[in-house]
Structures are given as structure tokens and as C-alpha cells.
Amino acid sequence: MDYGPWSIDQNMKIFKDKDMQLLLSHVLRAGTIVSISVVFIGGIFFIYRHGQSISDYRSFKGIPDFIQRPSGIFHGILALKGQAMIQLGIALLIATPILRIVFSAIGFVLEKDYLYLGISLLVLGIIFFSMMNGHTG
């Protein structure tokens, strides 16, 4: 029997690599299932509304204006727009590995492995920098 990742709170067991593996496994699985489900539901709405219109992805035109920003995606979902739901699902999917690093960082704190806490934070910093760069460019 494993004690699960939260055993540190329950019986003061030391948080070990094995617990971290289980924790990360849960994070990755949950993230994948949730985001794919959102994409799938969005896909049904999208096909229902636009199934008969002509598809044209031949030249690069970016993405529709209303899903460019988080606020637009939010309003789009409220209006039951499939593309907004798909884009939310994709954003959650992209966030899943990033969330995995956040949880690794927490795990390394519990393990008192400060070298790898630093490495985790560095990787997070690079992704954050990349995000800022994509925004301004």
C-alpha cells in the first residue's frame, strides 16, 4: 500500500521521492483528462455551429479576435462559443506541464533539496520569460 502524496500531513512521514512521483503522476493525469474533456466539449459546440461552413486554413490569419485574450475567451464560453472552449482546453493543456514543475518545486521543499528547488524555479522563470516575450513581440 502506498500512503499517497499527502501522507506528510497525516502521519508525519517524511516526504520521499516515491511520494513525489505519485503526486506528479496525479497532477499530469488530472491535467490531461480535464483539458482534453474541455477541448472535446468545445469541439462538439464548434461542429454544431460551424460544421457546414467552409474551412479555410490555407493562409495564416492568426486566430479570431474574440479568443485573443483571456477575457474574450471567458465571454465566449458564456455565449457557448465552441472555439472559446477549445482555446480554454488548450490553455489548460499547456499549463499542465508547468503545473507539474510547480508541484515538483513544492516537493523539493518538502524533501529539503534546495538545489533542485532552485533548478525548478529556474525552469519556471524561463517559461515565464518566454511568455512575456511572446506577449510583447
Binding site: V39, G43, Q52, P97, G134, H135
Partner: protein, 290 residues
């Protein structure tokens, strides 16, 4: 053979038909990608660009998203089994994410036909790589840096736990920067390059290197996906059938793989198919028709 690409203006598909074609193609890509270990992106990008005339930027965006999905889905299983070397993965992710960020930024300024040619070349290289024999011996040589970074590990093997050491950390790190750049530039997982870095340079056992590479692919792809998402490369209409199809195919593939171990002939067929696709991509890249 070179007539695979439809002439511009010839095809008008409804969104429903387009989605169904991409969905079926993506299931096949995910299945083959998982059975051969090369990933689905290798088939998705030629399928979208050559057959369906989709702009290569949309194809790269959709492929990248599917790469994240398969990596996260399968890493969830591997991490639990304790084969993945988490510290090694985390350490090398510094290199791959930095590389991926550079690749995604540079991709915006590179003409699309150069991207197509580079994609073809990487494709051929990966096909050759996938046919190579895997190194089986376990390295025991100690390296100062690997020791300092706690990279040496062990994994559950047939006859109990197998310990291994990691060498040439610097060389592996540099190769990972390159793998990250290629991933960010072309929207693929570049698993083949990651395995070169870990197998051939750092002398890590095959079982550990493939699962650790898979563990890193999601984070690497995320680092460039955050750029692509903001630049409008990730189109919901294209990405939706790709990500659902590839994940479904990869999941099926992982179930088949457990049951049948002999996949040598399959790898030869796959290597042949991707070589044909690679030549197509290079041809259209030189031609300027992509």
C-alpha cells in the same frame, strides 16, 4: 509521388469534413508515433500541410499542442513506475526550455520554406535513428558533475533494481539546448534528439532515457507553446481534431505495445513512410510551394 499536395484553390472542405479527415489522420499518427516511439508530430505536420493545404504555422501550433497532451498522458504512467529520472529531467529541462523559447522566437522570422526543408532533414535523421540498435550495457563510471547534481539513479529491471551512473553531463546539456531549439522551431517533441543526448552522450540506459525524454517533452513544448498561443499560431479549429486524435491513437498504441513486443517490421515501414514525407517536405520547401 510528388503530386500528393493538392493545388491551391482546388479543395473546398466543410468544417465537418475537414475535422473528420484530420481526426482520422491524427489517430493513425498517434498510433504509429507511440508504437515507434517517435511521436505523432512527424506525421501530423506533413498531413496538414501537404494533403490539406493548411498553413505550416497552424500545423506547427496544432502539433505542439498534441505533443504536450501525449507527453503528459504517458508521463503520468511512467513517473509512477519509478523509471523516470526526475532530477535528470528537471536539470535538462533548463536546457530544453531555454532552447525552445529561442526556437519559437526565431521561427517567426524564418521563411516557411526553410522551416519545411529543416523539418524534412530532421525527419530523415530521426528515421535513421529509430532503426539503430539500442545500447544495453549499464554505465558505472562516476562523473563529478553527475554526483554533485544527484543525477545517478536506479530503476526497476527484470532481476531487481539496476543502478546506473551518468557521464558527460556538459555534452548532454548542450545537445539538449539543440533539441529544445528544434522543438520550438518545428513544433515536434524532438524525442529522437533527446534520446541521442541521453543514450549516446550521457550513457543512460534506454528504458530510463526514453521515459525521461517523454517526461521532458511536455515542459519543453509548453515553453514554446506560450509564445505560439499569443501569436495566434494555435488555431482551435485545427488543433481540436489533432489533439483529440493523437491522444486517442497514442493511448491505443500504448495498450498494444504491452501485448506485442515484436515491432521491428513496423519500425521499418514507419521509417520508409517518414522518409517519403521528408522528401515531400524538402521538395516543396525548395520549390517554395509551402
Amino acid at each position: 509521388m510528388l503530386a500528393l499536395r493538392q493545388r491551391p484553390g482546388s479543395a473546398t472542405l466543410t468544417t465537418l469534413i475537414f475535422t473528420l479527415i484530420v481526426l482520422i489522420g491524427s489517430v493513425a499518427a498517434g498510433l504509429l508515433g507511440s508504437l515507434t516511439g517517435l511521436g505523432g508530430g512527424f506525421i501530423i505536420i506533413p498531413l496538414l500541410t501537404l494533403l490539406l493545404n493548411v498553413d505550416i504555422h497552424y500545423a506547427i501550433g496544432a502539433s505542439l499542442v498534441s505533443v504536450i497532451a501525449t507527453s503528459s498522458g504517458s508521463a503520468a504512467a511512467f513517473v509512477k513506475e519509478g523509471i523516470t529520472n526526475m532530477r535528470l529531467g528537471m536539470f535538462l529541462e533548463i536546457a530544453t526550455t531555454a532552447g525552445a523559447m529561442c526556437g519559437a522566437i526565431v521561427a517567426i522570422y524564418i521563411p516557411t520554406n526553410y522551416i519545411a526543408i529543416l523539418f524534412g532533414l530532421i525527419l530523415i535523421g530521426s528515421a535513421i535513428m529509430s532503426l539503430q540498435k539500442k545500447i544495453q550495457d549499464v554505465n558505472q563510471k562516476k562523473s563529478y558533475l553527475a554526483e554533485k547534481l544527484k543525477l545517478n539513479g536506479s530503476y526497476p529491471g527484470n532481476g531487481g533494481t539496476i543502478d546506473y551512473s551518468v557521464t558527460r553531463v556538459g555534452g548532454g546539456f548542450v545537445m539538449m539546448i539543440f533539441a529544445g531549439i528544434i522543438s520550438g522551431l518545428l513544433g515536434i517533441g524532438s524525442g529522437a534528439l533527446k534520446v541521442i543526448a541521453m543514450d549516446n552522450i550521457m550513457r543512460i540506459p534506454f528504458k530510463v532515457s526514453t521515459t525521461t525524454s517523454n517526461f521532458m517533452i511536455g515542459v519543453t513544448a509548453s515553453a514554446s507553446a506560450v509564445v505560439y498561443l499569443q501569436r495566434g499560431y494555435i488555431n482551435p479549429g485545427v488543433s481540436m481534431p489533432v489533439v483529440i486524435g493523437v491522444l486517442a491513437g497514442a493511448y491505443t498504441g500504448s495498450k498494444i505495445l504491452v501485448q506485442s513486443t515484436s515491432s521491428k517490421w513496423l519500425r521499418y515501414i514507419f521509417a520508409l513512410v517518414i522518409t517519403v514525407l521528408a522528401i515531400q517536405m524538402i521538395y516543396h520547401g525548395i520549390n517554395g510551394s509551402i
